[in-house]
Symmetry: C2
Subunit: 158 residues, 2 copies
Amino acid sequence: MANKSTNAIVKQIFSSYLEKRGHRKTPERFSILEEIYSIRGHFDVETLFLYMKDKNYRVSRATLYNTIELLLDCNLVKRHQFGKSVAQFEKSYMCGQHDHLIDTETGKVVEFCDPRIHEIIETACEMHGFNFSYHSLYIYGKFEDDVSSGQESDDQGS
Amino acid sequence: MANKSTNAIVKQIFSSYLEKRGHRKTPERFSILEEIYSIRGHFDVETLFLYMKDKNYRVSRATLYNTIELLLDCNLVKRHQFGKSVAQFEKSYMCGQHDHLIDTETGKVVEFCDPRIHEIIETACEMHGFNFSYHSLYIYGKFEDDVSSGQESDDQGS
DNA sequence: ATTCTTGCAAACCATTTGCACAAGG
DNA sequence: CCTTGTGCAAATGGTTTGCAAGAAT
């Protein structure tokens, strides 16, 4: 895992973004970025809030929402809305494009990747004069071997 | 548009579903089903509420939510969560499987269909021992020819 | 008759907003 | 210094829930 260099690059991207937009480079923003990039899978704002509070950061929920908005804008974070519940987020730099299998009973989420999705996207965009920005494909259903009845699980190929 | 027969079939499906689950066949439930199936594209609960109030139905928001839950359960309605805003719904019987192009600036939504999506789904399900139930593919971006800067637009082939 | 549904209004709760203080530029 | 960002707490608003009256079975 090349986490050290990834973190440096990600901070650089965020820094450039803030500069370009005339936003200030506050320590809170970089702390939040760092903590988000230390999280393995998906997370929601409340979880992140408690996680950071536990680490003795003093960030408010408002700042989390605000900063995540910025991170979404510069594509360092992706937002998901599995099921009907709260918004889920995940880091998105160097994580490989992937989609999600969602167990409608347990809530378990597994990632997968299939490059053929791009052919579909290209065709649809051509047919409708659409400039693609990003996509999300969610497949809902049920896992057969529900051994690990856990909440969540990642499956990214390195 | 074979709306007349479609409506009859849809009511039959709902009726059977209610019976099987031991739910009562109230006039409100069938009114809501009928009104939903008379709506062209996507809608949110508030819009449906006002729409029905306008037609002098006396249904509460609570009943709308409750009934939509039942309709989701028997697959007569599909839920979407475009962007970050409120839940959107659409009728799903005999509307053909389709996916969505979403303009991130105007909110315009256009539907498209590409059967190749099923190959991707099949592969992913096989690889992860997953029983597919339904999917949603959202492609976000921007339309090139934004002549109709409207809110929403449908594109279903007959 | 009994139990499920409904309508209404209050409760919920994730997210947003207002404000005074703090701090980046 | 000036303006933006932050923490806190209150406000917001879509959705859910509690309850008494009404209707399906």
